[in-house]
Symmetry: D2
Subunit: 265 residues, 4 copies
């Protein structure tokens, strides 16, 4: 016997398309924005206008960072396989893993663990400072790093950080994750012996967590944002390609080397 | 010598992140919506509020259609490889090819070819009817099908079609592609001998073309929309999985058959 | 200044193609088998005929397991996007992650850690039994599972296990990983309180480790094997498709359910 | 009612695993090579030893071509997402599309169409020359190119071509596709006005077609071959990474340019 396949997302009949318990054509199209819908599809509730503004600011912050490894991979794939735009987009997204895209989810997760692990949330900045100090100490003692501290390019200050904090404040959405992350920004020099900027992509993770989005899906939102950026990269590759030059630059500077002794098993 | 890699998208320095000639943090975050940015990244211009409304209505229309092959593939991939959310998303998007996602771009392309191929655009519905009639006749005589006519489920009327036409009209964006498609809807029975509904995903293609978006990127917008839908599917798979049941339903009903003689080379 | 890009793999000039320090056309084509080459490309040395036999037995063992989630995903993707065979293959491979493909690498890694962590390898089965017993105990006390014990279908004995052990023995390649895994098979009931079969895919991991292949690449070999299997699945989908039935079975048995209270954030 | 899902590939029970109508463990593992199995999985028959030698020579010829766009994309993806080897492999394979990997299938298809379109195959080289001359003329008059003629690097002679022809001859497998391609090599200067080498990857397509493999799967074999090459690239990236340098070379030479007037829609 075939099982049933339950879903709270979409179903359709001959006359009607329903999504999230709504009539797609009557209730959603032209009435609900794409960012709102993306939020709703994961969180299973419609975001408020304030939440939408902060959420979309996060997506805008994460959409494109120029010639990242993922953008270059997408453009190389499009060069080789212009027959499949979905292949080029997928190839770019496949780079959205732990190393370059991970800080958003790692930071959100880290903050979430601390927030969930405390019996009573602080009520003021001093309280958050204390909570942050304890967390940073624990992490350091465990021989690990606090995700979201530092940035390879923005060594003094990540320009995205104060803007996200401001938008969250404007919208009344400065919640425990963002407040804790700000506190980490204040207190960490005491433990680590040096001062690092709060990574903007990490603030994005904190904001998404404060929006109540599940931490297991934070990487997904970074990927959605990056999908828009990659479409821009692919469109540009169609107009003004760099994929061939990128490929030839590597290929023409290739040098054959004998395998090192340790490479030979 | 290393070539230069020109881009009109994003660059960053230690203090500033620029995107599309703007300051990301001062001009875009919290000021420009995610849908607006996605449009801008491909079209290389910021959409007007009217254009944004129509554009986002298209994305909302295309985001999720329940248990499509792509949604099921994404959920099966997440089942097997929960270690890689980007893999599950990519696997889902890789199904965004000619068969199930193609009508948006095929329709947009078809209409664009007709529109571009005419010396003078019609000025009223009668003119569009004539242009449509000629196009449908040519296509039939060439032994091909007009993309965007008919739908496997919505056999009488696709509920998305009138809503998109209405939104386009409300926003003053009912351009030649949409008008031509509506005309095709009126005149095709004369040529084909039967009456078919205008496919809503096809209307999406017409709308995107009337928004001035490049026809070579229409598939990309369907993929962006679907990315949001797939995140919803993956999030649901985390909460209420169906992947295992889908897999076992096929596996348990597998039947070994000898290869047919024609299968043996 | 452009950096150099060193490689020990392939380079070519106008007249010659070199791979792994050899002339591709004079030394490799028609002289070295595909399995041999795959081994060589990762291990940076040519395998002996004995090693090749065991290595290819592993690949054959892992190539196809019928309608796995990965095979179904590949066929659904091919259904939706027949325009891109590489997309269907990639989608299938993307399911090659931790849950269903992981036992080969998890087992190989586990055994490797034990083997590397002992000062002096045992010289007989009694010695391996002792090493195994200690390892299984440690793992149990840490609250973790020994990878490679048990199989969801082959509850008594995995038919692949004795055959791989035999081939390894025939070829003089029964090394510490395989011997340790066999010992785990003997002693684990004492610790776990029940008797589980040695998973054939786990034995594959042990064999690959005894072949000296890097543990960080074990998943890669399972993926290479699976690539051949997926080509078979895609070819069958071309001849005798099941993708549409698999999709419709899920879609037609979809049931809309209100989100559970816990799902609403 | 659930449909049945017929397959001629693999099924398994608690005690037995069957593949292609054989017992996997008794008949295949250690008895059938990986290349043989890959052939069998698609062609639905076991290749002879001669066929296996030619088939594996083709795979070896196609496996790795140094720093191709696909290899670079795989290494960039591994750099960004070392957590997912399957993602890096998939990203590399996604570049296996029309532009760089297409010549094998395009050539095989082209030759197959000519061979299938002739009532009676030639019996000697003169006959093949005549068939080839007619085909090249038709193609030129249709404004199209003969696939498999020419190579961007091997401008005089592709070193793979004579070796594949020789191996096919040695194995008694020089069939109509290979003979026709050789004839095209002889006669095309008469039609095209210049002399081009036969592309080795094109010869691979001819050989696969002469092996009776379905033309719709030729791209799949190039992908299988490339999967082995990509594993080598990923393993090398683990040992001696170039991904970061490749990425930074592009990123550091990025130049912002205003969108050209034609780029603004």
């Amino acid at each position: 016997m075939t099982p049933e396949f339950p879903t709270s997302l979409g179903t359709s009949t001959a006359d009607e398309i329903r999504l999230l318990g709504q009539d797609l054509t009557a209730d959603l199209m032209g009435e609900v924005g794409f960012g709102e819908l993306a939020f709703w599809l994961v969180a299973m509730r419609r975001p408020t206008p304030s939440e939408t503004r902060l959420f979309e600011a996060v997506l805008v912050a994460l959409a494109d960072h120029g010639f990242t490894p993922t953008a270059i991979a997408a453009r190389l794939t499009y060069l080789s396989a212009p027959d499949s735009l979905q292949g080029a987009l997928a190839a770019g997204l496949l780079g959205g893993g732990s190393r370059f895209l991970g800080v958003t989810e790692d930071c959100g997760s880290y903050l979430h663990d601390v927030v969930e692990g405390t019996d009573e949330l602080p009520t003021d900045d001093d309280g958050y400072d204390a909570l942050a100090l304890a967390a940073v100490r624990r992490t350091k003692e465990a021989g690990r790093y606090v995700p979201g501290l530092g940035h390879p390019v923005h060594k003094e200050r990540d320009p995205r950080t104060p803007v996200l904090m401001r938008i969250a404040h404007e919208e009344g959405l400065l919640g425990p994750h963002l407040r804790l992350f700000a506190a980490i920004g204040r207190v960490h020099p005491e433990v680590l012996g040096r001062s690092l900027p709060l990574n903007g992509a990490g603030v994005c993770g904190a904001a998404l967590a404060d929006l109540g989005l599940p931490v297991e899906m934070l990487r997904g939102f970074a990927l959605l944002a990056r999908a828009a950026g990659l479409l821009g990269q692919i469109a540009e590759e169609q107009r003004r390609p760099i994929g061939m030059d990128a490929y030839l630059t590597v290929d023409r500077n290739a040098v054959y080397v004998d395998p090192a002794p340790t490479e030979e098993d």
